[in-house]
Symmetry: C2
């Protein structure tokens, strides 16, 4: 990749380098939502760029509450816009230098959910996570179910309760089965958990009956986000048989505001794990389809500094995105721009790399030591959980920023 | 209820009596979609009524691709519109008699999906169905899982693949585990099934964190439809553990075009079954919350007349709609106008009342005899399956019309 430099001062450790340029939706002082691009600690005002004829498309497509219509212009256009902005930010005598007002300070902007999500699907594609959950929820001897290595197991999630980073939510109430009892009780969940996930945004429509193969699948993926699929483990354990998790997940999920394009992630491609047994032909793929993205989860208790609970990497995923999408559509299911597909919890093979409290504390039995001497088995009221992720290769750094949310006490 | 008569000739057996007046979305000759109301074999052109100042709201709200914005005006308004049309259709010197052009023949109109569905949830609320499936898929001795009588079990479904009555779809491909094997194969599903369900459309917004109680729940329900939740049983059996049905359902679902309002269903209220053990307080309810709606499923093979496979009734449901909605939101999950909540398969207690082929043929082992001497274990290519439903009380008949769809062969 060509070395790029910007005339703009960008912190060397910024997730939003000249190589990244993710898209998001922002507003200033409660004004109209519009589409922007992150660079360093600034937002490129694409509406303004277009109005000044510095971009090849009308500002109409940037004056939007969501990215969907812009994404719908197709990758040819969205890639072109990103490259034009990259050039405007890197060439020495860029016309953008005459428009300092078109670079907005991120701290002054409010970020919004970047896409109008149609359907949300959550996969379960980390072998380590599925194994850990299987050991705890089911049978330690047969933790991984027989279908797991044949199917990128997934399920439909609730789209309505997905919120952008920064929006707090309340601890959910629900039915829980006390240990040793066969009568459920109604109470606040005592086991609210985070799930470290990454999601991808569908960028191209398919029709009912169409199948997307693994070769074409990336054409249907616009970009990626960080995703925290909040879970209530005690509710989940009681409700999930036989139709899967429901209220244990649908009370809230949190998404990072900047969508990092597939183009920006190109430098971080790596091979995935060997899949044994061999997958069925429709799930076979060629090329490097995993991505080396460093991930971490921090938890900030009310009166303490943040502590890092987990450090892992997206490259560990057993099932990759093109396999997930080929599987999702093999029955003819149609996908649409703005649909969200999440990875499932991303766990590595050692304890500090597990992507949920359930695994980190082994169901609460091995709580995490906090800096003030107390412990955490699950997330507590007023805790703020933050996920971060970035790829680094030589001088190139491309990151996702963060997704952060605070757990509020149960609503009266 | 006051006896009503219309000056319009309406067949005595019509589902769309003067007592019904359901809302739907139609178009004529490929023109713009708009909202209408069914009466007998006609559609009341609400846009035209409003333009002629025969309705209290602007035609703007009827020139829409979906009912959502109209529903969003609130029950006060939508009830009023229905009552005004009822009056226009019943009073002897109605001004509508001067506008015969505002009554369109249903056969000349194309019907469309009535609502833009945000999220779709499928419940599993028939005890007989859950018991039958449990016997076949799991353990005949413990068919009903321990949580079933405590929780109105439900799961998130795929909204994108829901189509209006009349739209055909292709037999899905997928992974199936052959009997006695532990290696799945990839093939066309050999066990495509219908599921006789009813759905309800959310008519009022709730906020994240809000809980809707059983007393208020009906304020959040605009009306009901017939719903066929097509299923591929062989795919389902292999994929559904542990996160629930996914591709076995998401290839297609079919919805009836006319949404029957809760007001029109008022005469058909009946008590539901006794719930034992007693439900938790948040699921307790007062009043009659079940509805006496006669249901049937017909299957028309390519060269035969339709045969009725199932006759049952919606009143058999163990969990009712207000319990479902109270449960769905007890964790603070937000619901939105246009969300669809389906009942799950509706089965009675005897064989001819089962709402799926899976149950009617007991997993294919007792196929149904067809009129030409052949048999049906599951749905075959080119079969047309039609669900119908209606309530009758004295002279009042309120029906749903039908939802019908043809299974096409697997797409190449």
């Amino acid at each position: 990749m060509k070395e790029l430099n910007s005339w703009l001062a960008i912190d060397r450790d910024s997730d939003f380098s000249i190589y990244n340029l993710p898209f998001g939706v922002f507003s200033i002082h409660g004004g109209q939502r519009q589409i922007g691009m992150a660079i360093g600690d600034k937002i490129v005002n694409l509406t303004g760029l277009a109005d000044n004829e510095l971009l090849p498309i009308s500002s109409f497509f940037f004056r939007k509450d969501y990215l969907n219509d812009f994404i719908g212009l197709g990758k040819e256009v969205t890639k072109q816009v990103r490259l034009e902005v990259q050039q405007l930010l890197s060439e020495e005598n860029s016309p953008l230098r005459n428009h300092p007002d078109l670079l907005i300070n991120q701290v002054e902007a409010a970020m919004h959910l970047p896409v109008k999500i149609g359907d949300y699907t959550d996969f379960y594609s980390s072998k380590e996570h599925a194994t850990n959950v299987g050991k705890m929820f089911r049978d330690p001897e047969h933790a991984l179910l027989p279908n797991w290595k044949h199917i990128p197991v997934g399920y439909h999630g609730r789209a309505s309760s997905i919120r952008v980073s920064g929006e707090p939510f309340h601890r959910p109430m629900g039915q829980v089965l006390p240990d040793g009892s066969d009568e459920p009780v109604f109470q606040a969940s005592a086991q609210v958990d985070f799930e470290l996930e990454m999601g991808y945004i569908i960028g191209r429509e398919s029709k009912l009956g169409d199948r997307i193969n693994t070769t074409d699948a990336e054409d249907y993926i616009f970009g990626k986000v960080l995703f925290n699929d909040w879970s209530a483990r005690d509710i989940q354990r009681w409700e999930y048989v036989p139709l899967g998790p429901f209220l244990s997940k649908s009370f809230a999920s949190s998404m990072s505001p900047w969508v990092v394009t597939m183009e920006a992630l190109e430098p971080f491609r790596v091979a995935g794990p060997i899949q044994e047994p061999k997958v069925l032909p429709y799930l076979a793929y060629s090329g490097d389809r995993n991505f080396d993205i460093t991930l971490e989860v921090g938890l900030k208790a009310a009166h303490l500094d943040e502590q890092i609970f987990c450090r892992t990497n997206f490259k560990y995923m057993y099932w990759n995105m093109v396999q997930q999408l080929a599987h999702h559509t093999i029955n003819g299911c149609d996908v649409h721009i703005g649909d969200l597909m999440a990875s499932g919890t991303i766990s590595g093979s050692t304890k500090g790399t597990y992507g949920s409290m359930l695994e980190l504390t082994w169901g609460g039995s091995q709580p995490i030591q906090m800096n003030d001497g107390t412990t955490r088995a699950f997330v507590e009221d007023m805790d703020i959980v933050t996920l971060r992720g970035y790829g680094v290769k030589k001088d190139i750094r491309v990151g996702f920023g963060s997704v952060s949310a605070q757990l509020l006490p149960c609503k009266e």
